[in-house]
């Protein structure tokens, strides 16, 4: 197993009577892109802030890069964009980054490097207050990448970006991941997470409901087979797959819980039993489907616990 870059143990944050984060234990491995998902107010940003040492946990602990979260030597190895970019409005984008670079003792060439990476070099001399939301967001990502950190924490990095900007940001994260960069990506855009994340953690009402690979979370694919006669097809498919893995879905269509690669075998099997095969399609559950299913059931179970 790859080295753990982030490991939290029962991380909890309480504000008065409100439990913002409730015993979250999550792990992020070196070199992976970890998607951190949850509805608004679920506790994602609070968890990330605790990892960065911006707020102290009420209980539990977080270890980042093998050391307690919040230590300056750890924070120096993390690049973070948390809940929107915070910069000096009167400074240019470049001067903002120069300021942040000086905190790390970095040369101005590093500023130029990250400006190029987020495609802001042309507007780097403009004042931050004149930037569009998308440009501000890109500058925030640039600041996070200063000094080539070991861990990149990006909280909603595509907020405010136009479709082209979102595609660029996605490509940037993918290229970073390909270069071995560990990334924690909090995002509402599930298609984006599905596309670029290796593993995800789903947090609802402060609790980590599930942590798994994207594929596991989505579940296996289902083959939808339209064949006649339906009863004969059902019997044939039940012999091929587990009895419980086959069900009718109406319109002479049967659903078989088999991977997409099994489609040729299924067709051959049915034809061998003199069954007419009209259509075979692969039905895959999207991350969005899995997420909504999980968050709605998670909220319901949290309410049951509360009541």
């Amino acid at each position: 197993m790859k080295e753990l870059v982030v490991e939290t143990d029962g991380l909890t944050k309480r504000y008065g009577d409100r439990l913002a984060v409730d015993r979250v234990s999550m792990t992020v491995r070196r070199g992976e892109v970890y998607g951190f998902l949850g509805p608004n107010g679920a506790g994602k940003t609070t968890t990330l802030r605790m990892m960065l040492g911006l707020i102290r946990p009420t209980a539990g602990a977080a270890s980042v890069l093998g050391r307690p979260a919040g230590r300056p030597d750890v924070t120096a190895r993390i690049g973070a964009l948390v809940e929107g970019p915070g910069f000096y409005p009167y400074l240019s984008g470049r001067d903002n980054l120069r300021t942040m670079a000086r905190y790390q003792g970095l040369a101005n060439t590093e500023v130029d490097r990250v400006l190029e990476m987020v495609d802001l070099a042309d507007r780097a001399r403009d004042a931050f207050k004149g930037y569009s939301l998308g440009m501000k967001q890109r500058l925030g990502v640039a600041a996070a990448m200063l000094g080539a950190p070991d861990l990149l924490v990006l909280d909603e990095p595509t907020n405010g970006l136009d479709p082209a900007g979102m595609a660029d940001m996605r490509a940037l994260v993918v290229s970073l991941a390909e270069a071995g960069q560990t990334v924690i990506l909090s995002s509402h855009i599930l298609a984006e997470v599905q596309e670029i994340c290796d593993r995800v953690g789903v947090i609802v009402e402060g609790r980590l409901l599930r942590e798994s690979t994207v594929a596991d979370l989505r579940g296996g694919a289902t083959l939808r087979v339209r064949a006649t006669p339906e009863d004969a097809a059902l019997a044939a498919l039940m012999r091929l797959a587990d009895d419980e893995g086959v069900r009718r879905s109406g319109n002479e269509t049967l659903e078989v819980e088999l991977p997409a690669t099994a489609a040729p075998d299924v067709v051959r099997h049915l034809v061998a039993h003199s069954i007419d095969v009209h259509e075979v399609t692969v039905a895959e559950r999207s991350l969005e489907d899995a997420f909504f299913e999980m968050t709605s059931s998670g909220m319901a179970s949290n309410k049951e616990v509360a009541s």
Binding site: L52, L54, P89, R102, Y103, Q104, A143
Partner: protein
């Protein structure tokens, strides 16, 4: 807190402060006020023979003497207890308080320096600016007084270096005290607006009212003698040689006690700002 981190933080803060027009507006306002109240009004009064608010009853010879280079130590500190301190407080409150609204403290703390180093760097940068403000005031006073002496055909007699150093040091300490108190209030209020408002009302109004009450009630006077305005005003008064009619210049406490009190406020404000920022959640 490593020296390297502190140096880096100070360099970062100096870069962003020197490019902040609001800071230069305040420095410009201070220099304009120093020039106006230190030289322009008195010189106009001297030339026209009209009384002004500070030179009420002063002879022409006295007025001219106050405009000469030898009077630089007095002029250097006379404006500090009133508007100099208030402007320094605004600088401190803006530097610390805006970081919350803009979210820049959050960004800075995720760049790697310890909170102590980051806040220490900010305090150091404010200190450098207060020193620069005092230096600019000295240069302005020297230039204007020499020009007036030349224009009036008076001998150019510079003050003793020890007097000048004492005045500069006292003035710098008074500015530093108010700037760091403003910084602390900006940290506590998590924003500049409340800090600037409360700070100005306190330094310009509340302390004066309390001193008025204190002159009637000895118990209150004990408290007012320990307040920053009293300490700053008395330190300036000790340099000038007692109240000269300039608002805020006092002789409520001795120069030595005033120096210790001002220095104590500088230290307490700096330490308190660092401690609060180290312990605070940045939500």
């Amino acid at each position: 807190m490593s020296v390297k981190a502190m140096v880096g933080s100070t360099a970062a803060e100096l870069l962003r402060l020197r490019k902040w027009s609001a800071i230069w507006v305040i420095v410009g306002a201070w220099l304009a006020l120093s020039l106006s109240f230190g030289y322009v009004f008195n010189y106009v009064s001297y030339k026209t023979g009209d009384d002004n608010f500070a030179g009420d009853g002063a002879s022409d010879a006295q007025l001219l003497a106050e405009l000469m280079p030898s009077a630089i130590p007095d002029i250097l500190v006379s404006g500090l207890p009133m508007f100099g301190g208030a402007l320094a407080m605004v600088v401190g409150a803006l530097v610390a308080g805006n970081g919350f609204g803009w979210g820049t403290w959050k960004t800075v703390f995720t760049q790697g320096p310890s909170r102590s180093a980051a806040v220490g760097g900010s305090l150091a940068a404010v200190t450098v600016f207060m020193f620069a403000m005092m230096t600019a005031t000295l240069v302005l006073c020297a230039g204007v007084s020499v020009a007036i002496a030349a224009a009036e055909g008076q001998p150019i007699t510079m003050p003793a270096l020890t007097d000048l150093a004492q005045s500069f040091g006292a003035g710098f300490l008074v500015l530093e005290m108010w700037a760091l108190l403003g910084f602390l209030v900006g940290v506590l209020a998590k924003g500049p607006a409340l800090a600037v408002g409360l700070g100005l009302v306190w330094s310009l109004v509340v302390e004066n009212l309390l001193r008025g009450v204190g002159s009637l009630l000895s118990g209150v006077e004990t408290v007012t003698d320990a307040l920053p305005g009293t300490a700053g005003g008395s330190l300036a008064g000790a340099i000038i040689g007692g109240p000269n009619g300039t608002p805020g210049v006092l002789d409520a406490i001795s120069g030595e006690r005033a120096l210790v009190t001002v220095a104590a406020y500088v230290l307490v404000a700096a330490v308190a700002a660092v401690v609060v920022m180290r312990r605070r959640d940045l939500a």
